[in-house]
């Protein structure tokens, strides 16, 4: 092949990729905003400030505010132990961390119904003590934590393994306590990777549908998160309202993408400048 045809092939491939992205990603995203604004800005705004929509937004933020910090802690602990220590059952733990990725979210939701539902293992005990998990906020948080568990850990394991134990050992040999070592050496070393994982985790926590749908019970104004609220509006043929709320989720995705690119760029820069 001569250079010209290589060049042409390259242009062709790039064009195909761009066309694909436009057709399957950009166009639908634009369609969401167009449908949302079909009846004008007023109808759009009204759909967002309506009480049920506000309740859904509030609940979504609450669920993310609980499950993301939980997963930061779990993710760091899991990644730390996997990357820095050898112990029996390590590969099993790695497999378990991947479980939420490989299992359908609906199944994840059903697991919690099976455990905490009225007919579930702990159902009678929970009913006796007047604790509601399924069809209530705790169930939604549990399902979200489950689904988003791998994001932080997956991001940190390779990073921490690559960094090894030297920095921590150096800190310890200089007299730092375990906590000081973590806060002043480990955390700064992983901060960009961690931020990246947190962003992905947050996007998923706010957008999760399947698992949450199973455990939520769809009580309007009470247990509906934004994705569930969108579905209900859509099923009621209230397209403008459905797409208005959907556009918020789409906006979240765009913001996440922008932040992600910034973090990635910082992360790459950090890695480059940290080269031995």
């Amino acid at each position: 092949m001569n250079t010209l045809s290589i060049l042409r092939a390259r242009h062709l491939l790039i064009a195909a990729a761009l066309a694909f992205i436009a057709l399957f990603l950009v166009l639908p995203l634009a369609a969401v905003f167009m449908a949302a604004l079909e009846k004008g800005l007023e109808a759009y705004a009204a759909a967002l400030v309506e009480p049920d929509a506000l309740a859904a937004i509030r609940l979504t933020l609450l669920v993310a505010a609980i499950s993301v910090p939980l997963n930061i802690v779990f993710g760091i602990v899991a990644a730390w132990s996997i990357a820095k220590f050898d112990f029996p059952g390590k590969s099993l733990l790695v497999t378990f961390i991947d479980l939420p990725f490989s299992v359908s979210p609906v199944v994840a939701g059903l697991i919690y119904v099976l455990m905490f539902g009225a007919q579930g293992w702990f159902g009678p005990w929970l009913a006796e003590h007047d604790i509601q998990i399924i069809f209530a906020v705790p169930g939604i948080v549990l399902a979200t934590v489950f689904v988003t568990f791998p994001f932080v850990a997956r991001e940190l394991i390779p990073l921490m393994s690559e960094q090894g134990r030297d920095d921590e050992e150096a800190a310890l040999s200089l007299g730092a306590s375990g906590l000081q070592t973590f806060l002043r050496v480990t955390l700064p070393n992983i901060r960009w990777g961690l931020l990246y994982g947190v962003l992905l985790c947050n996007a998923r926590a706010m957008g999760e549908f399947g698992a949450v749908s199973v455990v939520s019970g769809h009580l309007r104004g009470l247990t509906n998160t934004m994705p569930l609220h969108v579905e209900i509006l859509y099923n009621e043929y209230n397209f403008v309202a459905a797409f208005a709320v959907a556009s918020l989720l789409a906006l979240l995705a765009l913001v996440t993408l922008v932040l992600k690119s910034i973090v990635e760029w910082r992360f790459a820069y950090h890695r480059r400048s940290a080269g031995h």
Binding site: S173, L174, V185, S273
Partner: protein
Amino acid sequence: MITLDGITKTFGGYRALDNIDLEVKDGEFLALLGPSGSGKTTLLRIIAGLAFPDAGTVAFDGEDVTGLKVADRKVGFVFQHYALFKHMTVADNVGFGLSVRKRGQRPPKAQIRARAEELLELVQLGGLGNRYPAQLSGGQRQRVALARALAVEPQLLLLDEPFGALDAKVRKTLRRWLRDLHKQMGLTSIFVTHDQEEALELADRVVVMDHGVIEQIGTPEQVYMEPATAFVSDFVGETNHLPGGIHVRPHEFRIVEDGGQPVIVESIFRKGGVWRIEGSLASHAEVVELDLDATLAPPSPGDTIRIVPRRLKTFPQSGATSHDQA
């Protein structure tokens, strides 16, 4: 004084260290020398308290510290790849050990900074305190790591391949500098190396290790001139293996007119201040290397010269004792 008694360490069945006994005197500069995988780093980490032996004891000044963690042993450890904290300035790196002290013992910030500057001066990096590690050369990073270890005023300094990642020229300069620094401070120090030249040049005593056991402990002079085993003779300095377990160093041959062993010269080149001759023994087809005073006229390839060893050692092929036949 540091006393190791019967230190043994296994990794999943593999004996990385096998019954190591060692005494390090106060103020001594000791080298752990051995090939890759001989257990040098493992031993150094056990002395530091970064790893713990399966059996045996470590004592500092007669006090058993075997179970003590690194933080409680008052050691400074310099890592092979520096392990500098990338997100901190050089001065913050050096001051780290002081800044993590408990509230009562922690000096004020300004004092930590002043101490860091002082140490950076000592390692000839004065004025670079505000840089980040990524903005330094390898040799400079190594010296920052050293300054950082010294900041906590350790009783013992441990260095793992301190010059391992540097080029030959920088190595040599840093080596001399480290020796002077050691003289000046008199701090008991142990360094790991697989470079025999480095060990011989720097150390008061050299510990030669192989496969997790100590082959010989002695002054550089002793391990070079009186190798205890065939391994030491081979590993420390260059050695010709002649039939019958005879070891002769290249400079220990003499050229004679009559008698001796005939050697056919194959190649000849200048190696520093000597001619290095590579030839083969006519009788055994063994390759020999020998050095000839560069002020003498060199033979040409193809010539036959006659040599006798001025000094040789024989090692029983499978034993560990030596017979001197100087």
